[in-house]
Structures are given as C-alpha cells and as structure tokens.
C-alpha cells in the first residue's frame, strides 16, 4: 500500500483547496437565500417553459423554500464536483508518464494491476472525503439560512439521499476518467477531457429533458442521476444509480485490462 500513501500525500493539497473553494461557494450561494426568497420572481415567469426545464427550474414556487432554492443552485456545484472527480481520474495514470515518474514507480516491485488498484483506491478515498466534507458544509449552511418552519429532519433526509447519489455520480466520472487515463500517455489533455466529459454528458441530459423523443439520453448523464432538485422532490431514481454502477464496474475492469497491456512511455 506504499503507492496508496504516496498518492494520498501527492493530492492532499489539491483536495484541501477544492474543499475550501467549494465550501466558500456553497456558503456564498446559500447566504443569498433569505434575500432571494423575498424577491419577486415574476420576471422569471416570462421565460419559455422548455428553457426553465433545461435549467431544472420547472417549479418557481420551490425557490421560496431552502430545499427548493438549494436544490436549484447546488446543481452547479454538482457539475464542479463531477469535474473534480473526472480530473482525479484522468490525471491518475497519465501523469506518471508525462512527468516521467513512472520510470521510478515501475522499477519498484509493484505490478501494473497494483498500480491501477492502489491509485483507484486512493482517489476514491480522496473523492469520498471531499464529497462528505462538502455535503456536511452544505447541510450546516442550509440549517443556518433555512426559512422559519422548514423541517430539519426533512432536510436531513434529503441530504442523506443527495450525499449517496452525488457520491455515485462522482465515482462514475472518476472511473471513466481512469479509463481515459489508461489510454493517455501524457496528462496534457487531461483537464480539457475532464471538462468535456462532464459538460457533454450534462448537455445530453438537457437535450433529454427538453425533447421527449430523446428522453433516453437522460440515462447518459450522471449529473442528472444526482440532481439535487429532483432528489429533494422525489428521492433517488434507482435506474440511474444502477446504470452508473454498471459504468463504474465496466470502466474499472477495462482500465485494468488496458493498462496491463500498455507500453509505458518512459
């Protein structure tokens, strides 16, 4: 488990920075809620219905409760979370090659399977830590700014479900990122691939929502499986979760398979 420790140590600074930035972002967004709640939302009613749907804002009345408001605003943090997870994945294996550190690592007695396995484990732990802390901050901030009369236990239930669904979403991006990482021999394109992966699937989800003919596309969008507004309204949609889990397992196995056969660039 030496590589596991090395990997955790390498990323602990990045992890801390992401947790702080997302924490501040959450605080900033939620602290606007008391002011937003009392503002008239009439102008927004003029927006076309489909457009509202695309922004996951079909029920404007929701915005006057903390759950509704948070559920809407936090989808953007979900996107950022997806990007964080995808970046952890796409960099994980490719960075060793582009920085040349693989020539040290792979001359040690460690198998390629162990390299992938320990890296997956370390990055899963890092991501899980990030997500738990982010959710804990978000929950506390929501408690601070909630409207009078909002049910704490109801909010807690919503957050438990969101924590789980969001965790699975991140793991999906992480494992697809790992798969890309096994193909790459440099991490130069890792960031753009991560952004592309998250936004592309998100846009597929938007198309799926706007046009009933393409409803199936929703399943290709991990972010939609963990959309806070949907989860707060109707709970976890298990179909999505199952699809994500299948993607995680398949991408994970493929990563091992490809990395074992790969010529490492030294």
């Amino acid at each position: 488990m030496t590589l596991f420790r090395l990997e955790c140590k390498t990323h602990c600074k990045t992890l801390l920075i992401w947790m702080i930035v997302v924490g501040i972002l959450t605080l900033g967004l939620v602290s606007l809620f008391p002011a937003m709640k009392d503002m008239g939302l009439d102008q927004m009613k003029a927006m076309p219905k489909d457009m509202m749907k695309a922004f996951n804002l079909s029920d404007l009345g929701m915005l006057t409760t903390i759950k509704g408001y948070f559920g809407y605003e936090y989808q953007y943090v979900m996107l950022a979370t997806g990007i964080f997870a995808a970046m952890l994945g796409t960099n994980a294996l490719s960075r060793e090659e582009s920085e040349g550190t693989i020539s040290y690592l792979f001359s040690q007695p460690i198998s390629r399977i162990a390299i992938v396995g320990e890296k997956m484990l370390a990055n899963t732990v890092l991501y899980t830590l990030y997500w738990l802390v982010s959710m804990a901050i978000a929950y506390l901030v929501c408690l601070m700014f909630k409207e009078t009369g909002a049910s704490v236990s109801d909010l807690f239930d919503g957050f438990t479900q969101l924590t789980f669904a969001g965790w699975v979403m991140g793991l999906t991006f992480l494992s697809v990122g790992f798969l890309l990482s096994a193909f790459l021999s440099s991490n130069k394109s890792a960031t753009s691939l991560s952004l592309g992966l998250v936004f592309l699937t998100f846009i597929l989800g938007v198309v799926g929502k706007m046009n009933n003919d393409f409803k199936g596309l929703l399943y290709a969008s991990p972010v939609d499986a963990a959309l806070p507004s949907t989860i707060f309204k109707s709970g976890i949609e298990w179909n999505y979760i199952v699809i994500d889990l299948v993607v995680i397992v398949v991408a994970g196995l493929l990563t091992f398979w490809i990395y074992r056969r790969k010529d490492l660039n030294v």
Partner: protein, 299 residues
C-alpha cells in the same frame, strides 16, 4: 545460471524496428557494458527488460525467471537507474529513500543510508525537484542500491556526475560486483567501460554487432601512424597492415604480426617518411572504430 538471458528479442514501433533480433547472456557477477551510438536501441532493450514496454518478439529471462510474467519477483532483486531521472519532484530525498524501501518491504539500515549520503554528498532534506542534474542522478543511484539488489541495471548512470563522485560510484559498484552482484550498464563513456567492464555488447541500429570479452582482447595490435607526401599504403598492406584512417599526408594502420618484419619495412621506407609512430592500440580507439564502421559490417 545466467542473470540476463535475451534470446532473439525485437521491438517495433509501428514500422520502425528499434531492436532487431538481439540475443546475449550475462553471467552472475559480471560487470557488463552495453554500448552503441545514439538511437541504437540500448534504452529500448532495457525498457523491455524492465517490462516498461512489451517486446515484439523473443524471450527475456532475468535471474532465471521469464519477464514479463514474473516481473514482480524479478524487480525485488533489481536496482534500476533510468537515463532520464525524473522522480517525484515534491518529495524530499529522504522520503524517496523511505518509499523505495517501503516498496521493497524493507526497513532499511540508517547507517548504510548515511554512508551513501556522505559518500555521494547528498543532502537528504532537499526536495528532489530542487536538485541539479547530477544530484538527481546520485539520488537515483542510491535508490537503486539501498535494497541490496542482485542485478543493477543502469542507463547512462554517470552522465552528469563530477569526477570525484564518478570515482566513488565505481568503487561502490566494484565492491558490489565482488560480492556477486551483476552489473549491467549502458554508457557513452568508453574510458569507464574499458576500465571496469569485463565484457561488452555493441549494438547499432537495433542490431547486435558483437559481444567482446575485454579481458581477452588482443593487446598485440599495434597502431602505426605515418606522415609522408607519398603514403606507402601498398607496401604496408603487403605486410598485412590494414589502413584504418587516411588523410592527404597521414595514414594510420593497424598491424598484428611480426615486429621484425614491421621495423625492417619501416626502415626501408624511412627516407620517404616525414614521421612515424608505433603504439599499442587502446580499447577506446577500437570502440571508436566500431562507431565509425559502416552499417552491416561485423565486428
């Protein structure tokens, strides 16, 4: 039992053949040199031995075990110094040593580590990324030594080392060799190869040109350099000398034969010669000739 056994290994990158049907063996306790011009395929061969890249054909056996099937077992017994030392830049040197020992499930001997650090003048508190080229190389050397490997594979290890450290490194390597450790190094420094290696393999354009036993190289070969307006090429060739180099007024011959005959020929020629020297041929010169020789020629 040979420690390194390469049989008919090849490596293709697309259409380009970087290593072409290379076979040789290295016995336990040998100090083996691997030399050849830039781009000859030395690093590629070593990368296959360490399973960084897969061979396109042939069989590799290290320490009696097949690679890549048993590369995990094999790597427990190998110390490797890459030609381009790029270790984790954010780690301190001492952390790198600790991680290396951890990977080998060894506790390490702090006295030994201190000895290496003093010997090679390494500051273990520094961050690896802040070190100079030569200092990085030294850290890589220590990382390849601290787990007491049976086989040390080094790709141009002395590139960037100052002369003092260079001498100390070879003293350590010689010590290791005397304890039965096998040393395999690629190098462009012919002097060090001549001084330390017992055998060498010469590779060019991916093909193995030959394997030479340096302990048995014929020291009787003389190099004769003559300066004259009319170079006596024909006369010299008649007594069996081969012209290895020729300019307008100077020619160099390699000669392996009767010295009396050589001197009588030279004295007959002396009126027309401006200058003549006869010297023992050193290995460096012999290697140089191999570098200069045309493709396809044998050793």
């Amino acid at each position: 039992m040979p420690v390194i056994e390469l049989s008919h290994i090849s490596k293709r990158f697309g259409k380009f053949v970087a290593v072409n049907d290379v076979s040789f063996t290295v016995e336990k306790g040998e100090f083996f040199g691997f030399i050849g011009p830039n781009g000859a395929g030395k690093s590629t061969t070593m990368n296959m031995m360490l399973n960084f890249i897969k061979s396109s054909g042939g069989k590799i056996k290290l320490l009696g075990k097949n690679v890549p099937e048993h590369d995990l077992d094999v790597k427990k017994q190998i110390g490797y110094v890459p030609s381009d030392v790029r270790f984790y830049p954010q780690l301190r040197v001492r952390d790198l040593f600790c991680y290396t020992l951890d990977f080998h499930h060894m506790k390490g001997d702090s006295a030994e580590l201190k000895r290496y650090c003093d010997l090679f003048q390494i500051d273990p508190q520094k961050k690896f990324g802040d070190l100079s080229l030569g200092n990085k190389k030294k850290v890589a050397l220590v990382c390849a030594l601290i787990h007491h490997p049976e086989l040390i594979i080094m790709d141009e290890p002395t590139n960037g080392l100052d002369p003092l450290i260079h001498a100390r490194l070879f003293r350590v390597l010689k010590e290791k060799q005397e304890q039965g450790v096998t040393i395999f190094l690629s190098s462009h420094n012919l002097k060090e190869v001549e001084d330390y290696c017992s055998r060498i393999a010469f590779i060019r354009s991916g093909k193995l040109i030959g394997v030479e036993d340096l302990t048995q190289v014929n020291q009787n070969v003389k190099v004769i350099t003559v300066k004259a307006d009319q170079l006596p090429i024909a006369v010299m060739e008649k007594i069996g000398a081969t012209c290895v180099k020729k300019t307008d007024h100077e020619a160099r011959f390699a000669y392996e034969g009767n010295m009396a005959q050589l001197f009588s020929t030279l004295s007959n020629l002396s009126p027309q010669l401006d200058d003549v020297t006869v010297a023992n041929r050193d290995l460096e010169e012999q290697f140089m000739a191999m570098y200069e020789r045309q493709e396809g020629e044998r050793l």
